[in-house]
């Protein structure tokens, strides 16, 4: 307790300053100031509220302090003041020079407020932290947070407690303050220490986060890329599908442009095709214009060459001629333009190994324009898309071209088919009409012919004078010839048709020649032309062939020889053609090779008549050719004869030709035909008989009067028995005289079994024949002989025998031979 005067000027009052726990207690007793009396007694003042003034001149320290809004002052000695200072723990600034008490209250006020706010903030921060951490599920450093929170709270507490220490305060406050500060210090140090560990972790978390973000960004980029690629692929597929779904060229190109335009969002898309001349490119298709006007640009433009030389899509300037499709309207920035070549493949260029190396230089140009004013750029994937599409278009176009070609070819073929069909039907109709005509005409012509021939032959049978007979014979012969002509015409038509076939059969070759000879002799003798017939000795008697046609041919040839000769002689030679003699054949394409089954008969008819100009020889064989040179006043050839002969000869696998030195030097007609050997067995019983005979064989010949002449008794008897067995009325004689004596026209057949070597046998035959002048009355003379060689046969023919029978002869054979003899009035057996 220190007594201090309350007022220096009032020496009467005193103030007792008592330091307490809570501050100093000023006890004012006996003071004059009404202000202090009674109201401030025993009040404790915080030191904060102490305002100190120090007076130099005095030994007193004035203590000014406010109690509420009361101010009071008292004076204490300096010693006391120092104690107070130490006791309160308050280090006050001593403004001993200039006491700044004017701003006391303001400063304090501001400090007070700031401290308060700081404390508030310091308390609220951890609350916020706790709140947000609780909200977020993930926070790995709770311990740090707690620590930090504690640190902050304590700092706040410290500041809060500071509020109480502005004024005089008690010791407890000081203690509290100190504790708080100590704690704060501890915690903050701990926190600082911990943060050294934590912060790198936090930082690394940050870097990891950054790394992941980068990665994510990268992946996003790549994703974007892939997506665009996939988009492109999808577009290509769709485009291709659209393009390839049609085979029409125009549709393909139009679709391409449309789809490209849609996919790439193009402003304009154009296709320039090369013209036919190949010197210009013509604008063929555009996207926006419906009917593009025929712009053309020369194909040699540098930009065009640039595009054509590469198979990639090339960016070109929007101002080049191919890209300037619309007039520049207004001010706009044309979009980027890309051009690509489209190869136009031809059918002939299409080779698997060549693709895509193309040998053709024909390209079309496709120009694609981005929208103007869009600032879009051509991306790589878009260019790739364009290139792929261009290739697909090329393929689709080539397919379309192939299809067009094949359609055209098919149409052509169909047309041709129709035309051919029509022609065939017309031809058939014509042939049918001709055949009908021929058939009808033949029938019509044959009917009167038949009457003529029949009646003249009947007339022949009656009694006529020689003259009349001659006339009738001529009529008959002419009629026959005319009938032959009619047959010729029919034959020719059948020959031309190819429907003609030879009637093959076995026949007597010698007999054919003989008949021709006999037919031609009268006519030749009228013209005083001697005719000679020479048959080669090795010529087989019986052959297989078409007898009728062969005879026709020989007759025709011989007849021509007779017809066209006024003088000279006619010689007919027939022999087997050897290979040497075939070499001089005029038609070298016949190589006759005789074999066991067949041989080639060569017939030469030589006359010394008018002859033929060698140049006209080929014409002779053409039908209806006008042979002026050969026409004489007698001849009236139809011109068919030789043509028909040629046809027959050809059918018989042979050839016919005429050799002549010239006019007036005669000519030789030569023909070669193939004839077959008839097959026969060694058994004489199975002799081949002429097959064309359709006569019903007579089994017996009752009452047939026959005469046998045989010098050999035995064989005479045998033959007689044989013929008697067949029912004949047989007279057998053993000598020639008897034979001549007994033979009469009652005998139908005379069998002469005589040796035919030498002339003996034939003599008797001749004499028998001479006995009967008239042909139809005399008996048939048949020789029986053991040998069948050529010479014998020839001699028999020459002499005029009607038949030759080979010994030995069986009953059956004799039967058939006799019946045939009676039927045909000629019988020449072969080997």
């Amino acid at each position: 307790m220190y007594q201090i005067p309350a007022d220096p000027h009032d020496r009467a009052g005193t103030c007792k300053i008592l330091p307490t726990k809570r501050g100093i207690k000023a006890d004012f007793a006996r003071t004059n100031s009404d202000l202090l009396s009674g109201s401030v007694q025993n009040q404790v003042f915080s030191l904060f509220q102490l305002i100190l003034r120090f007076e130099h001149q005095s030994q007193f320290v004035e203590l000014k302090f406010a109690v509420g809004n009361r101010r009071c002052r008292c004076y204490v000695t300096t010693e006391i003041f120092t104690i107070f200072q130490l006791g309160a723990g308050l280090m006050m600034e001593c403004n001993c020079i200039e006491p700044q008490w004017a701003g006391d209250d303001l400063l304090m006020k501001y400090q007070y407020i700031s401290d308060f706010f700081i404390a508030l903030a310091y308390f609220s921060i951890p609350l916020e932290l706790i709140y947000f951490v609780k909200k977020s599920a993930v926070f790995p450093y709770r311990w740090v947070l707690v620590q930090f929170g504690a640190f902050i709270v304590l700092c706040g507490a410290t500041h809060l407690i500071n509020l109480w220490t502005f004024n005089v305060h008690t010791r407890t406050v000081a203690v509290v303050m100190t504790t708080a500060k100590v704690l704060t210090a501890v915690v903050s140090c701990a926190t600082a220490l911990m943060l050294v560990h934590i912060i790198p972790d936090l930082l690394s978390v940050k870097t990891r986060e950054l790394f992941l973000k980068n990665k994510a960004a990268e992946l996003d980029r790549e994703m974007g890329l892939i997506r665009t690629q996939e988009e492109t692929g999808r577009h290509v597929r769709m485009l291709t599908h659209e393009i390839r779904s049609t085979l029409d060229r125009h549709t393909i190109l139009k679709t391409t442009l449309v789809e490209l335009g849609r996919t790439l969002a193009l402003e304009e898309c154009a296709l320039w095709m090369p013209t036919r001349t190949g010197l210009e490119l013509q604008l063929s298709y555009t996207l926006r214009h419906q009917n593009p006007v025929g712009f053309t640009v020369p194909i040699q433009l540098p930009v065009v060459n640039q595009v054509f030389s590469s198979n990639r899509a090339v960016k070109i300037s929007p101002n080049c001629p191919v890209a300037r499709l619309r007039p520049l309207a207004g001010k706009y920035m044309p979009g980027e333009v890309v051009a690509v070549r489209v190869p136009l493949l031809h059918l002939s260029n299409f080779q698997i190994n060549d693709w895509p190396e193309l040998s053709t230089k024909r390209y079309a140009l496709m120009v694609l324009m981005l929208p103007s004013d869009s600032a879009r750029q051509w991306h790589v994937h878009e260019l790739e898309l364009v290139e792929v599409v261009a290739d697909q278009v090329a393929v689709a176009l080539s397919h379309a071209a192939i299809l067009e070609e094949s359609m055209r070819a098919r149409d052509l073929l169909m047309e041709q088919n129709v035309a051919l069909d029509l022609a065939r039907r017309e031809a058939e109709t014509a042939i049918r009409a001709r055949n009908d005509f021929l058939a009808v005409m033949n029938h019509e012509m044959r009917t009167p012919m038949h009457a003529i021939i029949a009646l003249s032959s009947l007339l022949q049978e009656t009694e006529l004078t020689t003259e009349q007979r001659l006339m009738v014979e001529t009529i008959l012969k002419s009629g026959n010839l005319l009938a032959t002509l009619i047959n010729d015409v029919l034959d020719l038509s059948r020959l031309e048709d190819g429907s003609f076939q030879l009637e093959l059969g076995t026949f007597n070759l010698h007999a054919v020649f003989r008949e021709v000879f006999n037919l031609i002799k009268p006519i030749a003798s009228v013209k005083k032309l001697p005719v000679s017939l020479n048959l080669a000795p090795d010529l087989p008697e019986y052959v297989v062939g078409d007898e009728k046609r062969l005879m026709q041919t020989i007759l025709n040839v011989v007849g021509n020889a007779v017809k066209f000769s006024k003088e000279g002689s006619i010689s007919i030679t027939a022999f087997i053609a050897k290979s040497e003699s075939l070499r001089d054949s005029r038609t070298p394409d016949i190589f006759p090779i005789p074999s066991d089954n067949h041989f080639y008969l060569r017939v030469q008819v030589k006359d010394l008549g008018l002859g033929v100009n060698p140049q006209d020889v080929p014409k002779l064989f053409t039908k209806f050719a006008d042979n002026q040179l050969l026409a004489t006043r007698n001849s009236s050839g139809s011109g068919l004869g030789l043509a028909i002969c040629k046809r027959f000869v050809n059918l018989m696998e042979g050839d016919i030709w005429i050799e002549s030195e010239g006019l007036g030097k005669g000519c030789t007609a030569i023909f070669i035909v193939k004839l077959g050997y008839p097959d026969c067995s060694s058994d004489p019983k199975l002799q081949s008989l002429p097959k064309v005979s359709t006569i019903i064989r007579q089994t017996s010949f009752p009452g047939l009067k026959v005469l046998i002449m045989d010098e050999n008794g035995v064989s005479r008897m045998v033959t007689k028995g044989l013929l008697m067995h067949l029912g004949c009325n047989v007279t057998a004689v053993g000598s020639r005289d008897e034979c001549l004596h007994l033979v009469s026209q009652k005998h139908k057949v005379v069998f002469l079994d005589v040796p035919l070597t030498g002339t003996d046998g034939f003599e008797i035959a001749i004499r028998v024949r001479e006995k009967f002048a008239k042909r139809h009355d005399r008996p048939l003379i048949v020789a029986l002989t053991g040998n069948s060689d050529r010479i014998t046969m020839e001699n028999c023919l020459r002499v005029g025998l009607d038949g030759v029978i080979l010994k030995p002869v069986s009953v059956d054979r004799m039967r058939s031979l006799v019946s045939e003899l009676l039927e045909r009035r000629v019988l020449f057996e072969g080997q």
């Binding site: 035995v714 008897m717 053991g786 030995p808």
Partner: protein
């Protein structure tokens, strides 16, 4: 002897004749000519042949005995013989005659003489054979059987 047996024997004998070439198909033909109207036809012909051949052979022998004989004459005779033998189907005789004629053409004396001998022999043989055949036939007919008809190809 039984008829059947006789007939069988006859058939065998005939077959053997054909087989050995004494007779050929002509003989069959002759047999065929024999019927009711001509019952002994074959026999008549055969006996006629034997007479004829004997005469001819004798003639031949006489001719060939001469020093310078005429080949033509020989040929004619042989020809006759050939014709006769062929007519009745005496094959072997006929063949010899054919050869004989050839030798005549060749004017081979030796061969001709040889052939003559051959001819004689053949005629003799065939005569015997045929006589046997006829005897057999007669036996059969006497026994009441019928002559079996032969078929020879």
């Amino acid at each position: 002897m039984e008829v059947v047996q006789m007939q069988r024997r006859f058939a065998e004998y005939t077959a053997s004749l054909f087989r050995e070439g004494f007779l050929d198909a002509q003989f069959t033909q002759l047999q065929q000519l024999q019927d009711e109207t001509n019952p002994d036809f074959v026999e008549e012909v055969v006996s006629l042949f034997f007479e004829d051949s004997e005469k001819l052979v004798n003639n031949l022998a006489k001719t060939l005995d001469q020093q310078n004989f005429d080949y033509k004459k020989v040929d004619a005779l042989v020809h006759q013989l050939k014709g006769s033998s062929a007519s009745i189907g005496a094959q072997r005789v006929k063949n010899v005659c054919v050869a004989f004629r050839q030798f005549c053409e060749d004017q081979n004396v030796e061969a001709c003489l040889g052939c003559l001998q051959q001819v004689k022999q053949e005629c003799f043989l065939v005569k015997n054979k045929l006589e046997t055949l006829f005897r057999m036939e007669q036996q059969i007919v006497a026994a009441g059987g019928s002559i079996p008809v032969m078929e020879y190809n």
